[in-house]
Amino acid sequence: MTDWLEKHVPKLVLAPSLIAIFVFVYGFIGWTAYVSFTKSRLLPKYDLVGPIQYEKLANSPRWEVALTNLAIFGILFILFAMVIGLILAILLDQKIRTEGPLRTIYLYPMALSFIVTGTAWKWILNPGLGIESVFRDMGFENFTFDWLVNPDLAIYTVVIAGVWQSSGFVMALFLAGLRSVDGEIIRAAMVDGISTPRIYMSIIIPSMAPIFLSSFIVLSHLAIKSFDLVIALTGGGPGYATDLPATFMYAMAFSRGDIGQAASSATVMMMIVTAIIVPYLYSELRPRHD
């Protein structure tokens, strides 16, 4: 009995979390998928009516915009947050005397509720109030930075604010990773005549592959769920030019009382996520002989 217990301890330890995940994630995904085939409005209803919600979704220009935006935003956001986070982590790793304060400065955006920072960003990015006007006041008459009010470019301001908010955490993740690399290996590389940038490029960063996975997951999660960011910065505007699936879903589910539509969009979202994440997870986690 105790033998059996001991042998299965790892599985037993994992069990509560797994059960929770199965109920609260997969159960709920199933629930959502089911509801997406109903005509639920204010509250969920459980009479199946077929794929009408999906048809409606397919015809919605707003949903199309939201998906396009997600692609633009997701790619740029993940890329920049990752690169900036990594750069910052590496820079901070150079025995910087003021590391503590700098680290906090890079990290603090995470701490601030975007409901309010969104307002600050809105002012900064607003051509009439922020950077553009400051530069013009300084004498650069032709300086323009009006992405916020340009329907075609507004999504990029969401990227700027998103990167601002999240890259600090990515930095923290990478910093923790960097700090766990065996120093002896770095010494060996130094003696091998390798320059510091090269050491990072070829030795340290490759050994942090798991950290990349972590930050990728975190960032794509943030990208997919970015909600406050858009609501506070652009409110989805101009028009619905900066709508994202998350804001679309929220609007459908709660402002408009169209839960069926929200569920169908969520289901489509999950399918897209599956299409992107599953191959990635497979390549990262497939059994290797090491």
């Binding site: 906090t104 890079y106 701490a111 109030l129 923790a176 999660h221």
Partner: protein
Amino acid sequence: MKRVALRLGLYVLLILFALYYLMPLFVMVVTSLKSLDEIRTGSLLSLPREIDFSSWGKAWSSACTGIQCEGLRPYFWNSVMLSIPAVAISTLLGAINGYVLAQWRFKGSNILFALMLFGCFIPFQVVLLPMAITLGALKIAGTIPGLMLVHIVYGIGFTTLFFRNFYVTIPVELVKAAKVDGAGFFRIFFSIFLPVSPPIIVVTVIWQFTQIWNDFLFGVSFSQAGTQPITVALNNIVNATTGVKEYNVDMAAAIIAALPTLLVYVVAGKYFIRGLTAGSVKG
């Protein structure tokens, strides 16, 4: 000479980044120190004509968050009581899950891990309703434990991810040695793995604490009068739909609401230590 220049460039770069990060904070602090009048009439980004701390006091103790005008203060403890246990539990669960998934692999463990990760992507908007039904069924709707449960469940994926990916880099020889020394599953975890974990614990705590402390959606949905977290109060202060907007109080409130998180960053930051595993094994 080249080194000095390099070093200088390094600091310049770091400071430039710092400026980018500080810009919105600057706007917020400056605004919080202005009077409402000045905000209404002056340039939003200029320095205050005269510094006025009253909005800070107001945000903390007398801004209206509803009928009560007691500022953020009453909600602060709700958030503390919610986040500390929730962070602790989800971090611990993540650590032990990560430990299993990294060092005690069994058949299918990678698939289970992938399933957990995939769970990170479930949109919260769709979770709300079934979750509400579930919490109601469990009779913990509107309570702090109920809210804690929600945060823990949706935090596990991330905490597990962080720890697992940290622990895979720890040489298996250490586990081997401990096994031979007679240590069992938990002993190895507490004696060997937890002590090397400070950097990742810090990262996880930063993540979880930030997520839970700053969460609004779950907080507003699964709380009721008396259990509302600070973000709901902040939101109530900031988000007047048809009322007069007091930007100075908003900004001050936002900064105040973020102070505990900032404190966590500062305190936890110390544990970004270098080289915990160095010297353990050859190879």
